[in-house]
């Protein structure tokens, strides 16, 4: 195992043991809590690296055990100023775009709740894409080893700086929660062997949750307007030169289509959770629409079922992620340039599905062990969602994962 991974693993263990020994509750107006995952995973494929989401610069491959994609440590401080005001700060160590595990400020916000029906948060806030939780990093809080990568893989935004406003009210037999959010992102992501700075991008959206009895239903819309282009000058420069010299306006339009700055991506999602006694069911579906042609529009869905048997919860997850090439792609007169442009567009192709079988063992009130086996099948050539993929890779891999999750 990599030395850095070992170091992180030891840190996680030491922190967990210390926290458990110390107990987790301090004074009522100031609390320090934490969470973590010590994860090991191996992927059978030699031809590509499996990653948890598109923010990760490298993953796992070749049957070697690695802790890099799932190991996470987070610390959170909550300071209750008075009945209405609270400050929350959270720092997380996880695999970053630059291959480091440097601590990252995940949340830093003030929460004002003048009334139980109204909540306003200001500062660095979590981007709310999962049902019930803003964070996708707290392994103890969800059933599988990781949120299904087929669904959450393209959602690389974890937080933003701005505000969100949530209102709650009884509606019919259930409870309706509506939240609007607005802000700017700060993150950089590893994409196509380069680092893409998305900081300063405008993010906004709404989330509607309806809870009644064992059901929770969700509708979610978000849009982001990117602040920076990706480094695609190697293609856009020849396209522009060719377009200007030959008069082929399609080449200029093709170059424009590869801009990301000022372009908007829109995310739509629907979800449902059913939890009654030992049974837990969840399903979500999303649609992502891009104005830039660097990415392809996509649809994704997953369904997850778990049934608790004492301290053990066996579960199954079925997920799918598929992109669709744009219908308005330019066709260039120059065959070589056209081939290069089409190949670049095709690089963003994703067509994959995963069947996951796993078991969660809650052996302690705040700790759990999980084992999960993933049967992942991607269409050969659809390599965008993997890292360092060999074009000849057949798209098949099986992933075995073991995690120790804790909160304190």
């Amino acid at each position: 195992m990599h030395a850095k991974t070992m170091s992180l693993a030891c840190s996680l263990m030491a922190c967990a043991i210390h926290a458990l020994a110390m107990g987790h509750e301090t004074a009522d107006d100031f609390t320090l809590r934490g969470f973590g995952t010590l994860g090991l995973a191996r992927s059978t494929a030699d031809g590509a690296e499996f990653i948890r989401d598109l923010s990760q610069p490298h993953g796992i491959r070749g049957g070697r055990w690695s802790g890099r994609i799932d190991s996470i440590l987070g610390l959170q401080a909550n300071w209750h100023i008075d009945h209405d005001w609270e400050f929350v700060g959270q720092v997380v160590s996880r695999l970053h775009y630059d291959k480091s595990h440097n601590p990252e400020l995940m949340w830093a916000f003030a929460r004002w709740e003048p009334d139980p029906r109204l909540q306003i948060r200001m500062g660095r806030i979590g981007a709310d894409f999962m049902m019930l939780a803003d964070s996708r990093l707290v392994g103890y809080s969800f059933l599988p080893v990781r949120p299904p990568p087929d669904f959450f893989g393209p959602l690389f935004i974890s937080h933003f700086t701005g505000l969100d406003v949530a209102v709650e009210a009884y509606l019919g037999q259930g409870l309706m929660r509506a939240k609007g959010f607005l802000g700017k992102t700060q993150e950089k992501v590893a994409s196509a062997s380069q680092v893409w700075d998305t900081s300063g991008s405008d993010l906004r959206g709404i989330v509607l949750d309806y809870q009644t009895g064992p059901w929770q239903l969700r509708g979610n819309f978000a849009e982001i307007r990117f602040s920076h282009d990706m480094e695609v000058g190697f293609l856009t420069t020849p396209l522009r030169i060719y377009g200007q010299m030959s008069g082929d306006s399609a080449a200029l339009r093709a170059a424009d289509s590869l801009a990301a700055k000022g372009k908007t991506t829109r995310y739509y999602a629907l979800g449902a959770v059913y939890e009654r006694n030992a049974l837990r069911l969840q399903a979500m579906i999303n649609f992502i629409r891009h104005e830039t042609r660097i990415f392809q529009d996509s649809r994704a869905a997953f369904i997850q079922a778990g049934y608790r048997l004492g301290a053990m919860t066996p579960y199954v997850v079925l997920s799918r992620w598929k992109t669709f090439p744009a219908k308005d792609l330019q066709t260039l007169a120059d065959p070589d340039l056209n081939a290069a442009y089409q190949a670049f567009i095709a690089y963003a192709d994703v067509d994959r599905k995963t069947l996951s079988l796993g078991m969660r063992w809650d052996f302690h009130p705040q700790q759990a062990l999980k084992v999960q086996w993933d049967w992942l099948r991607a269409r050969p050539g659809s390599q965008f969602s993997f890292v360092h993929a060999d074009p000849r890779w057949n798209g098949k891999t099986n992933i075995l994962s073991l995690t120790y999750d804790f909160v304190f």
């Binding site: 107990g23 029906r117 909540q119 979590g126 809080s141 006694n277 004492g310 301290a311 009130p365 759990a368």
Partner: protein
Amino acid sequence: MRAALGAFLFSFVATVAQAELVVVTSPQTGIERLSREEVINIFLGRYRLLPVGITAEPLDLPIDHPARAQFYQRLVGKHLAEINAYWARLIFSGRTRPPRVVSDYAEAIRVVRERPGALAYLDASSTPPDLKVIFSFED
């Protein structure tokens, strides 16, 4: 910690002597009854505005207190581990505060007496007559 772990594992395989649990508040809170849905929403941090317009302040017993596991099992059919996972989702999202933890029934009774809006679950047999039972699983 060892006691907590023992109680936790034991709760999976055995039924702890079942107390008759009720939810109580002070008469100063001004409410007569709560529905099961309202109690769920208050203790799970979803909606804490009481029908009389004041904020509910739910109280929890320690994690190794047998009544805690029994209360959530009867209220929402979930094991303590599932409740802890639920709260982990909310706490680490910075969304809401979990119920304040008191050390035992005696402290729960003291806080309920002192603070209008405070709600606690107690063994019906240990509920003092000056507190108001606003929810019972037996109803």
